[in-house]
Amino acid sequence: MKLILKIWRQENATAKGSMHTYSLDNVSPDMSFLEMMDVLNEQLMEQGIDPVAFDHDCREGICGSCSMFINGEAHGPDRLITTCQLHMRKFKDGDTIHIEPFRAKPFPVIKDLVVDRTAFDRIQHAGGFVSVNTSGNTQDANAIPIEKADADKAFDAAICIGCGACVATCKNASAMLFVSAKVSQYALLPQGQVEATDRVLNMVKQMDDEGFGNCTNTGACEVECPKGISLENIARMNREYLSANVKG
């Protein structure tokens, strides 16, 4: 396949970026999107051009590192996948592909397609954990009976990889799907009840302090999420938050 790639290039966090156009030949439909980017970078280096910086790590849809906004969609035109799981067979010979970084004020561009997503880390630090006594008397988690339906929902929330596609795709750059998944995974389990009030209040406060937008329930985040995190989690977080406010 021959492709025209229009890619956001930005020297560093303070530089002004712009879209650059590159032509790439001999792209195999069996390549992953990131392999295609590797081939492009080899070509650029041969031409003495700075390669395109992009995030990647596991390349199997687990780590949540890859973060491209491809042809107007987070992680590209496929569903329930990350960019590393996207294959070139989703495109046609002669296609023009627009590749941009995930855009949100709290996700500033570091270089090219690499964005700083440490805002998510700070939200996690604010309450996305359970405090466990590790003195040797820790109760075996399996000894606590949990209803299957709750365990399943908690697991469904816990599979969020924190890639930021929800923020990138939301027209308001809202982080509510991510935060709600992190709140829900504990809210549904007995282990999470002790810190439930502080957790939701602190995590939502941190989310707001980071400058993410307001959720308007378009549902785009749920559709673009590579792990299929449900909007049900946002409703649960809202309930938890309102209840925590009443409890103080």
Partner: protein
């Protein structure tokens, strides 16, 4: 709790609550108006009650006006905040791939309804306030039907109203179910709420449009 509406969730809940309040008002408004199609006497009776009852006039009416202003102002404020949260805009953004047009354009449909409200206030509310509180004319319990019918003799007004009701339907299509989601209601009953919401979102504006067209054609 949240009197400053400082958090995104509280703002969202406030929008939902004001929206639900306005939807309840809309239903009540429709029930009274549809009587004008069947009986001038019943419509006059209802209108006279609403127009002269002190609780309606001096308690519910100010609450309603506050609700309307709050909902619109908050909508614009949230939109500004949301645009700020994006920062640099995407060169290509394919919203249609993952969300409905109505859900992404609540501000457009809402602003159209706001423009309609200005016209609607000019048509009915301003003359009513003038009649009762400026000129202080003697109350005539039979005047309401004639006033309504007179307004819909003008085809331009009828067309503007029908267009506005179309945008109202779009706004409600997303707004109804969205308000429940914002309040934290998302469970096995959600599909039923969404279905009822669609029925309400299409039924009420269609009913209002029918009333306007009915009076235009019959007089």
């Amino acid at each position: 709790m949240g009197v400053t509406l400082s958090s995104t969730i509280l703002r969202k809940v406030a929008m939902a609550l004001s929206g639900i309040f306005l939807m309840v008002f809309l239903l009540q408004h429709f029930v009274i108006n549809i009587t004008s199609v069947f009986s001038a006497a019943i419509f006059n009776q209802f209108s006279h009650f609403m127009g002269t009852n002190p609780i309606v006039q001096f308690l519910l009416q100010p609450i309603l006006i506050f609700g309307v202003i709050f909902h619109f102002v908050m909508g614009f404020v949230l939109d500004i905040q949301n645009k700020r949260a994006r920062g640099t805009r995407y060169a290509i953004y394919k919203g249609s791939a993952n969300s409905s047009w109505v859900s992404r354009n609540m501000l457009t449909s809402g602003a159209t309804v706001l423009a309609f409200l200005a016209l609607h206030f000019y048509d009915f509310w301003v003359p009513e306030m003038n009649y009762k509180y400026v000129e202080v004319l003697p109350e005539d319990p039979t005047r309401y039907y004639e006033e309504l019918v007179h307004k819909f003799e003008d085809v331009t007004r009828v067309v503007l109203y029908v267009i506005s009701f179309f945008f109202l339907a779009l706004h409600l299509t997303h707004g109804f179910s969205s308000s429940f989601q914002s309040m934290g209601f998302n469970n096995k009953y959600t599909p039923a709420v969404k279905s009822f919401g669609k029925l309400y979102a299409i039924g009420i504006p269609f009913g209002f449009a029918f009333i306007a067209i009915f009076h235009f054609l019959n007089h």
